[in-house]
Amino acid sequence: MEKIISLENVALAFDGETILNNISLDIYDKEFVTLLGPSGCGKTTTLRIIGGFLEPDSGNVIFEGKKINNLPPHKRNINTVFQRYALFPHLNVYDNIAFGLRVKKAQESEIRTRVTQILKLVNLSGFEKRSIGRLSGGQQQRVAIARALVNRPKVLLLDEPLGALDLKLRKEMQIELKKIQQSLEITFIYVTHDQEEALTMSDTVVVMNNGDIQQIGTPQDIYNEPINAFVADFIGESNILDGVMRKDFLVSMHGHDFECVDKGFNDNEEVDVVIRPEDIKITTPDNAKISGTVTNVTFKGVHFEMSVKSENFDWLIHSTKAAEPGSKIGMNFDPFDIHIMRKTKVRCCDNESE
């Protein structure tokens, strides 16, 4: 795979407030990359820099080997699906989609062919004459995607495109978007704060927080091997405990020593220990090193979500078996379910501007 976009030490501040803090990122051709993070983490800013709507204070934006830092959006072979669609209210569906081709002075006959083709791809054949105001949210979404894709960009940027849709429609569109991306072989750069969406669609997930990239990896990597407590907490639910690494493959937490599969830490280094709620097995109290009292049980459909209070920690457990609230249970986990992370200072994300 060849690199299509590279960000090299890109930094940006507004009014002295750091939005992006020296980020570097390579995006490969035909890849589905998701920028994932809480609001204010800089993901939309990163997307706008790639789209050409913002210019970084320092660093380079490289597109197909050329520096494009101050190339205006209309000269980039990149199209965007905007957060609230940004369709042209004075044009109907057909004219919205044809807009980009008309600006580029394409032949009307070619425009017709391409618009018809793309409408079929997004399942909106027959909607050509419909005015934008008379479309549902999901249909507007499809028009926005079609309007961008009809220009055959090298890269498609999507800024939380499914945010305004209801859950069921969102799930359908996730699958559809992934299908479109694979069939057209276009690089997608997707911004979302929804970790499930990121895991479902992406080839590569870029987890961001406070203007820094926390981790880049496949969805499996990010979920199974989160690099720090922030990533672990943001990607799915987690139990994050303070621990001390006794030596390689042995960690101490919650007053007990546990075997684990991690090494390479200093002896007695303080670490974060992450255990996923679904990795905790319920057993009888005398069969486990840690036991606690069940305080709350919620049925979630596929599993039960349980809160368990032990001596000095509140545990979250996902299990297909429910325990009685108030009962005492033991909690077991396998060595490979214990994830050890270096302590990082996770700065609080109080900045909402992006």
Partner: protein, 278 residues
């Protein structure tokens, strides 16, 4: 439920009644009286005489329409970029800028127009300055140009405000989408901003053209005796030496019909309203 609805209907009818009363007394009745005078002579006899005699003032009608149209076009050309730039400015200074735009309206209309007389006169400030560099004096006052200038100066804010109001509502992301799809700055304006601001354009044109076509102060003060407009003509029939309210009413009525026709034609460009909303 049903009763509730009925009650609301009654209530809204009641709350509207002061305005309906106002409208009847001060709009409908006077209009009917204008029409009555236009079609009667001084003895109250029905006649077409005055309506017919309006024909002899065709020149003045054409001049009025022409000057008002030029002033409206100039207002539009000046106001459109101003309104667009206003919307691109930082939100915090919007209200200040709007205040500056409307500031001239706060000054008395007569005073403003008098000021132009002193500026444009043969011994006025402009000719004095030109004199310093060895030019002029030019005849600036009592020309059609001065009348148009007066109209533009006085009515410009009424063009800027509706344009600004419509443009500020255009979502910034729509402009970004246009850029994203290949538009340079000018293309964004012609392909997106302009079509989306059509409602502002039509109301701006209405708010400038209608008062400009019927003005009499501006033409009297800046146009001298030779650039009579319809407004002056009407005024003369009521307050001047050639006192003739029946003719004045007839001229007013025909002016109204002309304005109505022009506005109807223009509103055709407004197109499908619900398309241009948002």
């Amino acid at each position: 439920m049903n009763q509730n609805k009925k009650g609301n209907g009654m209530l809204s009818y009641l709350t509207a009644s002061p305005y309906i009363l106002w409208m009847i007394i001060f709009i409908i009745v006077p209009l009917a009286m204008v029409a009555y005078f236009a079609f009667t002579d001084s003895n109250g006899q029905f006649t077409f005489e005055y309506i017919k005699s309006v024909g002899q003032y065709t020149n003045i009608f054409i001049r009025s329409i022409w000057l008002a149209a030029i002033a409206t076009i100039i207002c539009f050309l000046l106001a459109y970029p101003v309104a667009y730039i206003l919307t691109r400015l930082d939100k915090n200074i919007h209200s200040t800028m709007i205040m500056l735009v409307t500031l001239p309206i706060w000054m008395n209309f007569l005073l403003r127009t008098y000021a132009w007389m002193t500026l444009l006169g043969n011994n006025g400030i402009i000719n004095s300055i030109l004199g310093f560099i060895g030019l002029g004096p030019y005849k600036l006052l009592n020309t059609q140009g001065a009348v148009v200038l007066g109209m533009v100066y006085n009515y410009l804010p009424y063009m800027i405000l509706p344009l600004y109001t419509v443009m500020i509502k255009i979502d910034k992301s729509i402009l970004e989408a246009a850029q994203d799809l290949g538009c340079n700055g000018a293309q964004v304006i012609f392909r997106v901003v302009l079509p989306l601001s059509v409602p502002g354009i039509t109301s701006g044109i209405t708010m400038v053209f209608v008062p400009a076509i019927s003005t009499f102060i501006i033409s009297r003060m800046l146009g001298g005796g030779s650039n009579l407009l319809i407004g002056d003509l009407i005024e003369m029939q009521f307050l001047g030496n050639s006192y003739n309210p029946n003719l004045g009413a007839a001229i007013s009525l025909i002016l109204m019909v002309i304005v109505l026709i022009i506005m109807t034609v223009m509103n055709q460009f407004d197109g499908d309203d619900d398309k241009v909303l948002i």
